[in-house]
């Protein structure tokens, strides 16, 4: 009875950690590695089936051979590399200092309260990234300004719609429509030398880069199912972006 109770707590903790990693944008292999490290500290072996929305995990007590299986549904994904970094550090510290179950639980709890960057900082940083993309595609500084402004309002739209809990692809579509409408004004009034570069780059902040990169690194690891799911999610996002852009171009009759 005692072992079962302990195994239950271990399973809860490991599921909590794997779900945090998964929604923060870790690839499947990273989740596996971290879980194995924590399980080895707790004298258990773990076997898991990881998908984008659900994780099934079995823990086996190494000494008694008792096992416990549990399923957890994942919350919606929100990329957060600070959490990846902190969990990875915690897993190494746990091995070095042989942490107990309650110590690990407290550490994981404390890292969930990590602050994100303030909203305005994110807005400005991403807008600069949009301007940077425009420069890479050969825009001049007037085009960069257009890309900056359209990225800014596009991301603002994304954040606002995200709060209202619409479907995520509708959010992406609205953000893409906003950004490309503003950038289309640049093409319409022929601002700068390469207004098309500003239009093409205004929506790039929406590109699902993490999903696509993780998709291929999962495929390289032979986690084919997760790789395909991530790729499909990425493609859906790209289609939503393209739809927004297409409608903006129809409105301004651009070709």
């Amino acid at each position: 009875m005692d072992t079962t109770n302990r195994l239950k707590q271990v399973a809860d903790l490991l599921l909590e950690i794997s779900s945090l990693l998964m929604v923060s944008g870790a690839n499947t292999n990273r989740v596996d590695l971290n879980i194995d490290r924590f399980a080895s500290v707790l004298n258990c072996e773990s076997f898991s089936l990881i998908s984008q929305k659900t994780i099934i995990l079995t823990v086996v007590d190494i000494k008694t051979g008792e096992n416990y299986t549990k399923v957890k549904n994942l919350p919606s994904h929100k990329i957060d590399f600070t959490i990846l970094s902190l969990i990875s550090k915690a897993s190494w510290n746990a091995i070095d200092q042989d942490w107990s179950l309650s110590r690990i639980r407290n550490e994981i709890k404390s890292l969930k309260d990590q602050k994100r960057y303030p909203r305005i900082v994110v807005l400005i940083a991403v807008s600069f990234a949009g301007a940077g993309f425009c420069k890479i595609f050969g825009g001049d500084y007037l085009n960069l300004l257009v890309a900056f402004i359209s990225t800014f309002f596009g991301l603002l739209m994304l954040q606002e719609t995200h709060r209202r809990l619409f479907n995520v692809y509708i959010n992406v579509f609205l953000a893409s429509l906003t950004a490309s409408t503003i950038a289309s004004l640049g093409v319409y009034f022929n601002l700068g030398t390469q207004p098309e570069a500003a239009l093409a780059t205004s929506i790039l902040f929406l590109v699902p880069g993490v999903a696509l990169i993780n998709s291929f690194s999962d495929l390289l690891d032979k986690n084919v199912l997760n790789g395909m799911v991530r790729f499909a999610n990425g493609v859906m996002t790209v289609l939503a972006m393209a739809l927004g852009l297409f409608i903006a171009m129809l409105i301004f009759e651009l070709k």
């Binding site: 944008g25 870790a26 690839n27 292999n29 990273r30 590695l33 194995d36 490290r37 080895s40 990329i79 957060d80 590399f81 600070t82 959490i83 990846l84 970094s85 990875s88 550090k89 091995i95 994100r116 960057y117 900082v121 994110v122 940083a125 991403v126 807008s127 600069f128 990234a129 949009g130 301007a131 940077g132 993309f133 420069k135 890479i136 595609f137 093409a200 780059t201 929506i203 790039l204 902040f205 590109v207 880069g209 993490v210 696509l212 990169i213 993780n214 998709s215 291929f216 690194s217 390289l220 690891d221 790209v238 289609l239 393209a242 852009l245 297409f246 171009m249 070709k255």
Partner: protein, 162 residues
Amino acid sequence: MIETILNILEISIWAGIAAVGFGILFNIPKKAILTVFLLGFGAGFIKTFLLHFQINIVLASLVSASFVGLLSIPLAHSIHQPPVVFSIPAVIPMIPGFYAYETVLSIMSFTFLEKDDAKRLVFMDAIFSNGFTMLFILISLSIGVSLPLLLLRKDTVKKIEN
């Protein structure tokens, strides 16, 4: 010549800025910001430099993503962060957004707008060449980012078994 180098440097600096912008969107730790900037700058420099010598964009992306991946191994040890934290934001400026844009626009024009068969053939060509370039660049980028994992897998597992 000097003008070309200055131009490449300017583009690389913007690549670094773009990398940091995405890093902040992904909430990277504050300590990693400078590293991300330098990696993004280095990757942008190598890619623009190679492109300047007419090297295929897929190969250029593979080389600069591998640069990021390889350099992220020693960096991960020196600033105590897992490699993905700074390797993913650093390669994001190389995401083939422009090819994706061209592919999708060609698909839209092919399907909805163009009726003339000769012009549709041109769009068909654009869909395939841009689409596959995009796919191969994406694969190159993820190979680059995965290099530390692909190369060091055994080491990490060994540490766990001890």
